[in-house]
């Protein structure tokens, strides 16, 4: 009995420690964001003294910076990419999972093999390509490369393959075209997988830094991570302002995760196959 208690104690201690490692920086960030610049490099003890707290940094984020513009940009790009990813990855996943056409395996293999190329290697060719199309520093340029991702197509294909073939055949006999089967039968029964794709895409798109920083030149095309990133320069950084900005950026993903976390798990389970 005592052994069991000890085991539990160790278990919770390890959990607490791990939580502290992950949550600690966020707490530190929060306290910096409500502090004055002069206190940031003082003793950490100063940070947690209520008399030193201020919400001015959060106000400054809105007033001093083009935060609203960046927010609009981020929301626009994220929403568009999430919708297109859900739609196109489901469509492509359906085609690869359910339609039989010459070269299907080859094309899918080709798509999958592109995953082995590190994304960073493709940055320069992608930029040159966008430049040739005169899409640098445009919303189209920001959005196009991530309209759909191979990983999402793969996830949807795996999910659709678990749907019994009888369902598709029953729909064919009922009079459905293949697009209607996709739209009216497969999509409605695939909510866990679709939610997973939407959440992954939202998170990835919202936090994306590298591509937007390369493709956008003027600050009116910045997304939130890029804009806030520019607050930190080589010689001087307003740390409380920076932390307030980044904390605000984190909030939407945090909310989405908290509300939809069961879909994260379901999405992962679904890709493993479940009828």
């Amino acid at each position: 009995m005592q052994r069991l208690h000890l085991q539990k104690l160790v278990f919770y201690a390890v959990l607490l420690l791990m939580t502290a490692v992950y949550i600690g920086p966020f707490i530190y960030q929060f306290f910096i964001s409500i502090s004055h610049s002069k206190d940031v490099f003082g003793s950490p003890g100063n940070l947690i003294q209520p008399p030193n707290w201020t919400l001015q940094n959060y106000a400054n984020v809105w007033v001093d910076l083009p935060f609203k513009q960046w927010l609009v940009n981020s929301v626009f790009i994220t929403v568009v990419q999430t919708i297109t990813n859900v739609f196109f990855s489901a469509l492509a996943g359906f085609v690869f999972a359910r339609l039989d056409f010459p070269g299907r395996r080859f094309i899918f293999g080709l798509l999958l093999s592109s995953l082995t190329v590190p994304g960073i290697i493709l940055l320069v060719p992608k930029f040159i390509f966008m430049n040739d199309l005169r899409l640098v520093n445009t919303y189209t340029g920001l959005i196009i490369p991530n309209l759909v991702t191979i990983t999402n197509i793969f996830l949807m294909k795996q999910f659709f393959e678990t749907i019994p073939k009888d369902l598709e055949e029953a729909a064919l006999i009922d009079g459905c075209s293949y697009f209607r089967i996709f739209w009216q039968i497969f999509l409605p029964v695939s909510t866990p997988a679709l939610a997973a794709v939407a959440i992954y895409t939202f998170q990835g798109s919202w936090n994306e830094f590298l591509w937007p920083v390369i493709i956008s030149i003027t600050s009116d095309h910045f997304t939130l991570p890029v804009g806030v990133g520019f607050l930190k320069n080589q010689f001087q950084s307003d740390w409380p302002l920076l932390m307030a900005g980044t904390l605000l950026i984190t909030l939407p993903t945090l909310c989405i995760f908290l509300v939809f976390q069961r879909y994260f798990v379901q999405g992962i389970a679904a890709s493993g196959g479940k009828e």
Binding site: P164, I173, G175
Partner: protein, 368 residues
């Protein structure tokens, strides 16, 4: 309602060494209930799926009411199909599941409603119309699947092993319901099963298949009493027919079947038809209920008495299956439940002379 004609139908899968169905010919009469039966992999489901349009036809013609439908898509063939796994749309209610096909065919709302409610009435599902499939039992789901077919009022109903996923009791119940439905709708129905009891009890006509080849097409009782070959004889009937290899010999002008276990004289009419087989090896077949203990009156004309040694008995209540050693294998005899035997007991039996079957060991065709 409709007649389905299958003429020299071929199914060859790409890359397969030989065709799954080499040359199928069959006419399914209007308003008949035809059962395709055979062991796994015999091509019965493939044939059904070709009628449905779910499998491409490699050769031959498929006609419904005289119209060639080889190249029509499933939705244009005016057929409805009930699947083994029900294949209900999980996100739709029972009502929506049944109405879906009609909606796609742009039927007026009032007619859809009337048809769905009429089908629900027939199947006793009025209370369940708002339920989702996941909130229903297997039997109820299969009823919805049948309802989905009924509302369409198709030319032909196709059933692909619809009762295989149900438990034994429910299966018997649904068997009766489907048969009753056929009597009520008077529709052409094609039913696939691997269960010969299901085939016997449901079909007006049974099509026995093996390795893609139709072995025999006949009514259930004709199949049972007049099997065309060894396979049909062994497949139809439960427990199945007993077989014993031996020789036909001529003795004092009479024909006798003889081997290590049996030696009896054939009745004159059968002896006539088997004259040409004298001296040749044949396979003798007899059903478990055509064998009688000579101690009890059977009311049948029996062959000469034969001795067998009891191995195991299996009382099932209404009757008893008695197993005995036959050519190193196990033979079965069906006796009334009040007759009791002990293991290793030696008894004398005779065969009903009107139910003796002989097959050619090479061609496996019935000789007489």
């Amino acid at each position: 309602m409709a007649t389905v004609e299958i003429r020299h139908l071929v199914k060859q899968y790409p890359g397969a060494a030989k065709p799954t169905i080499p040359d199928a010919n069959l006419t399914i009469e209007d308003r008949s209930f035809v059962v395709l039966v055979g062991p796994s992999g015999c091509g019965k489901s493939t044939l059904l799926r070709m009628i449905a349009g779910l499998e491409a036809i490699s050769g031959g013609d498929l006609l419904i009411d005289g119209q060639r439908i080889n190249d029509l898509s499933p939705k244009d063939r005016d057929i409805a199909m009930v699947f083994q796994n029900y294949a209900l749309y999980p996100h739709m209610s029972v009502y929506e599941n049944m109405a879906f096909g009609l909606k796609l065919r742009k039927f007026p709302k009032a007619e859809i409603d009337q048809r769905v409610r009429a089908a629900a009435d027939i199947l006793g599902m009025n209370e369940l119309l708002e339920r989702k499939p996941k909130a229903m039992s297997g039997g109820q789901r299969q009823r919805v699947a049948i309802g989905r077919a009924i509302v369409r009022e198709p030319k032909v109903f196709l059933f692909d092993e619809p009762l295989s996923n149900l438990d034994a009791k429910l299966r018997v119940q649904m068997r009766v319901e489907i048969k009753r439905l056929h009597q009520r709708l008077k529709a052409t129905m094609v039913y696939v099963t691997h269960d010969q009891v299901e085939a016997m009890t449901m079909g007006d006509k049974i099509v026995v298949m093996k390795a893609g080849i139709i072995q025999q097409v006949d009514s259930p009782m004709s199949l049972y009493h007049n099997p065309a070959n060894l396979f049909v004889a062994g497949f139809i009937g439960s427990p199945s027919m007993n077989f014993s290899r031996g020789q036909l010999v001529s003795e004092n002008g009479a024909l006798r079947f003889t081997n290590q276990t049996f030696n009896f004289q054939l009745p004159p009419n059968q002896a006539d038809s088997l004259k040409s087989q004298v001296g040749k090896e044949v396979i003798f077949g007899f059903r478990p209920e055509s064998m009688y203990d000579t101690r009890f009156p059977s009311g049948k004309t029996l062959t000469d008495p034969q001795r067998i040694t009891i191995d195991v008995t299996e009382p099932i209540g209404s009757e008893t299956f008695v197993y005995f050693t036959l050519d190193g294998q196990t033979g079965c005899m069906r006796v009334p439940s009040d007759i009791r035997y002990q293991p290793d007991e030696v008894i004398t039996v005779g065969f009903d002379t009107g139910r003796l079957y002989f097959f050619d060991p090479q061609t496996e065709l019935r000789l007489g």
